[in-house]
Amino acid sequence: MGAIMADAWIDIGAADDIPRLRAKKFRLGDETVAVFRTSADEYFALLDRCPHKGGPLSEGIVAGRTVACPLHGWVIALDSGEAVAPDEGCAPTLPLRLVEGRLHLRWP
């Protein structure tokens, strides 16, 4: 991680490679990052770790701007990474931008 400049955008591929209502995950340094696509073609990037027990959020069911963790059903807001009440916790989000059909990711 130290080698990557904090403000460097990384091209992670074509936005259309991610199906609607699904996620694709990427290895970034020591972390796994999940990039989600909603039914309205919004894209969000989160660390692929549920704040509860570390479950892979990328495997969850996406609905609206939420994903439900496959391990114990916590629901995480894609835009903030916050768990939906009554659960409490936060999955860190990463800045993501869409440039001419390609997704760019960077460290926060």
Binding site: D11, R20, R22, F26, K53, A63
Partner: protein, 811 residues
């Protein structure tokens, strides 16, 4: 299409409510009401009379509700003529309206005996708002009231008038009160308690005459007794209102005759409620009316399968501080029947259970009614209570201690007010009771909204429901089923019915047509809708992987570390050296860290990475091994013992039969996972009696056992039927699974489903009705042709390759 509803009462309007939820806009609805009010809760009239509620409190639907739903409401104009040939109705005002479908919900009329003096001023029935207003008015300036009739309604009337300051006498034809609902000892306790509250009784009292010059002055009985009165209430009973049906030439008997589909002899005319007669039975209590309304609405919405099945109903009396409860048989009427009683006259407590063999068929409770709902539950389930019979009468807590189990949720009567019910929101029993009383709450949702009890994790829901039931008595049956999820107000049954009735074939269509608030749905409803659609439209609906839980989407079980486990099918638990070698070689080749034998007689390979799965499956496929669906809400295993081929006790070829069943059933998706077993003799080595469906072989054939579960709550199966041949076993298995597939709620195992519907219901549909069983079996087989493809082979060959792609490193 025009739907005209004759009758603006509880049954008719409940049917309309259900209908507009199921099929909004399908009909232009016009409702005629004879009374000048909107729809109100007739049961609560006693509470209005007693001064516990106002008329406003008992309104069910306001005029705004009718307007919002596009329903034309015509009040104060009774329909006087029905012409089934011209398909028109005509009201007293002369207004004539034509219909495509008609719903008759005209209720009942008070029985008026042929005695002189009925028409004197000061004589009223107790039936509608006008009667109650007349009674309240009389209580203001008259002294002495006589109520003729000591049944449920008469006693509530007597109590209400007493509360309003009148001196009240009850004249009753029979030796004991409420003889239709309770037996003689309970009736005597009831009379004693009401007597001590100042109501006088004239039992064995046949009214000969109501007399008076200009208005009522008294009631004379056949034995010469004379009861002076300024006001008389007739509450002898009700009879179905068949006037309109009779005039129109519909089939009538005591009531308007309807079939299981709630249709009268005219196929365009439906009827529900107190005006009907179904299988020789008429209705005067509210619970069956709700069920009739539901079936009628489903039929009107186009669901051709909806059928009315009467359930045992219970009665309770709405007099503060007097607890009476009864259900089913009141006395032992048969040589097979007997009674268990507990009678503590001094404390005013009485309990009686009527038993047929080791099953409860009736209960009468006085003074201590807390276990009433439990007895009803035992009745509905047709449960064999032989193991707790000697403790049954002392109530649930004590009885279940004998089984080493004590479920606290029904102990609400004994629970102190300060005890915390909802741990999530810190709500006590006292808070719940006070809020119910202060706000007049009647539904679980209301209690949740006002107190937050059971609004979070929901674990305390049964306790909150029990507290509500205790607080409001029979009224809690007015509660609607819980919503499927936050996206809709509809319950699972309503959604399933609408999918079929309205031909909804995609998730988007279903969500749009049924008014979902979230266009994507949510993680709760999406898997449920996906299942309901694939079950309703086999071969037509395209399965949506994005609405599947990860395990079903990737065809393996996710583990806590994000790796997966792989379980190939072993038909009936039989394997071969070649298959075992293939499993060993595959485990070695892919570095599988753990190999375990499962409880379902197969082998689990744990710790595979997702990207390894297609290659693992390809290797297993080469040896003929296919997916075991160990990850799905689907058929899991058919566990067997070795049976007559090897075992010296075996009576039939249980292994062979298990393999045949598994070959027929593999690949089918169900509301929740399904596990089967076949045992070769009653020693039951395959543990068939804790499976969703178990076959226990006997010399004479095969016992088919259903609804078992070995999970958190162990439930032993109920015996559905004994059959003679393997072919019959296969037909029953297919039919049972299809009925479960078509009727259960998503994520509802067979055990709670069987408990909810009751064994009698299943027997009626699967055992008694051979034609229905055959049709279910055929629908099962039809659906199976679309699902018996090995999902592993498809994915090993490249389907959904993106799902299994290796992790890409970026940056």
């Amino acid at each position: 299409m025009n739907l005209v509803v004759v009758g603006n009462g509880m049954a008719g309007m409940r049917a309309v409510e259900e209908l507009v939820a199921l099929a909004p806009g399908r009909y232009r609805i016009t409702v005629f009401g004879a009374e000048p009010y909107t729809n109100y809760n007739r049961i609560a009239l006693s509470s209005v009379l007693a001064g516990d509620k106002s008329l406003d409190d008992i309104v069910i639907n306001t005029r705004a509700w009718y307007e919002d739903n596009g329903i034309e409401l015509i009040t104060g104009d009774a329909v006087t003529k029905l012409d089934p040939t011209a398909k028109t109705v005509t009201a007293a005002s002369g207004r004539t309206i034509s219909y495509d479908k008609l719903l008759l919900a005209v209720g009942s009329k008070p029985i008026a005996p042929p005695i002189p003096g009925l028409h004197l001023p000061g004589v009223r029935a107790f039936r509608d708002v006008a009667d109650v207003e007349a009674m309240i008015d009389a209580a203001g300036h008259e002294q002495r009231a006589v109520v003729i009739g000591g049944g449920l309604l008469g006693l509530e009337a007597a109590w209400g008038l007493k509360r309003r300051g009148m001196s009240v006498a009850v004249v009753h034809l029979m030796p004991t009160l409420m003889e239709r609902q309770v037996d003689a000892p309970a009736g005597q306790l009831l009379q004693r308690d009401l007597d001590s509250r100042g109501i006088a009784f004239f039992t064995n009292g046949q009214t000969e005459e109501i007399y008076g010059a200009d208005r009522v002055e008294g009631v004379r009985l056949a034995d010469g007794r004379d009861v002076p009165a300024d006001f008389v209430v007739l509450a002898i009973g009700i009879r179905p209102n068949i006037d309109l049906a009779k005039q129109a030439g519909l089939d009538i008997n005591r009531g308007v005759v309807v079939g299981d589909d709630m249709r009268t002899s005219d196929p365009s005319i439906y009827a529900v409620g107190e005006c009907i007669e179904h299988n020789g039975q008429t209705f005067g209590l509210v619970a069956p009316l709700w069920e009739q309304a539901k079936i009628c609405a489903a039929r009107l919405a186009g669901d051709e399968a909806a059928a009315y099945v009467p359930q045992p109903v219970f009665t309770s009396l709405k007099i503060t501080g007097i607890d009476v409860f009864s259900v089913g048989a009141l006395t032992a009427a048969d040589t097979d029947d007997d009674e268990i009683t507990l009678h503590d006259a001094k404390r005013g407590k009485y309990k009686k259970l009527v038993m047929r063999g080791d099953r409860v068929i009736g209960a009468v409770l006085y003074g201590d009614v807390a276990d009433g709902t439990w007895y009803v539950q035992l009745m509905r389930q047709g449960k064999d209570v032989g193991d707790i019979r000697d403790r049954l009468i002392f109530g649930r807590t004590f009885a279940e201690q004998a089984l080493g189990r004590n479920e606290p949720e029904m102990d609400v009567a004994a629970m102190p007010d300060g005890e915390q019910v909802c741990g999530c929101n810190g709500v006590t029993k006292g808070k719940i009771c006070n809020t119910i009383a202060a706000k007049g709450l009647t539904t679980l949702d209301d209690v949740r909204a006002h107190t937050k009890a059971s609004a979070s994790c929901g674990q305390c829901t049964p306790i909150v429901r029990a507290i509500l039931a205790q607080a409001v008595g029979g009224a809690q049956s007015a509660e609607k089923p819980p919503a499927m999820c936050g996206c809709t107000a509809l319950g699972h049954d309503a959604v399933r019915a609408a999918i079929v009735a309205r031909g909804l074939k995609t998730q988007a269509d279903a969500r749009r047509a049924l008014g979902w608030t979230n266009p994507d749905g949510c993680q709760k409803c999406r898997p449920a809708l996906n299942y309901y659609l694939l079950c309703a439209w086999p071969g037509e609906y395209r399965d949506d992987a994005r609405s599947r839980f990860v395990n079903e989407r990737v065809h393996a079980n996710i583990q806590k570390d994000g790796t997966y486990s792989v379980v190939p099918r072993m038909w009936g638990g039989i394997t071969t050296p070649d298959e075992l070698r293939a499993i060993a070689d595959t485990a070695d080749k892919h570095g599988i860290p753990t190999v375990k034998v499962t409880g379902g007689q197969r082998i689990d390979m744990l710790g595979a990475r997702k990207d390894q799965l297609p290659a693992i499956w390809a290797d297993l496929n080469k040896a003929g091994l296919v997916s075991g669906h160990a990850y799905g809400k689907a058929l899991r295993t058919v566990k067997t013992c070795v049976g007559s081929e090897w075992c010296r006790f075996g009576t039939q070829d249980s292994t062979g039969l298990g393999i045949k069943i598994e070959k027929m059933c593999w690949g089918c998706y169900t509301p929740h996972k399904v596990k089967l077993a076949v045992s070769g003799c009653p020693r039951n080595c395959a543990e068939a009696t804790i499976k969703d469906l178990g076959v226990v072989c006997v010399e004479a054939g095969y016992d088919i056992m259903v609804g078992g579960n070995g999970g958190v709550t162990v439930r032993v199966t109920d015996k559905l039927v004994r059959v003679a041949t393997e072919a019959e076993v296969l037909e029953y298995v297919g039919a049972f699974l299809q009925l479960y597939r078509e009727e259960a709620h998503y994520l509802e195992r067979t055990a709670p489903w069987v408990e909810r519907r009751g064994l009698d219901y299943l027997k009626r549909l699967l055992v008694d009705d051979a034609e229905n069983r055959r049709r279910l079996y055929e629908r099962f087989l039809y659906s199976q042709q679309f699902w018996q493809n090995d999902p592993w082979a498809e994915r090993a060959a490249g389907t959904d390759a993106h799902e299994y792609a290796a992790l890409e490193t970026v940056g």
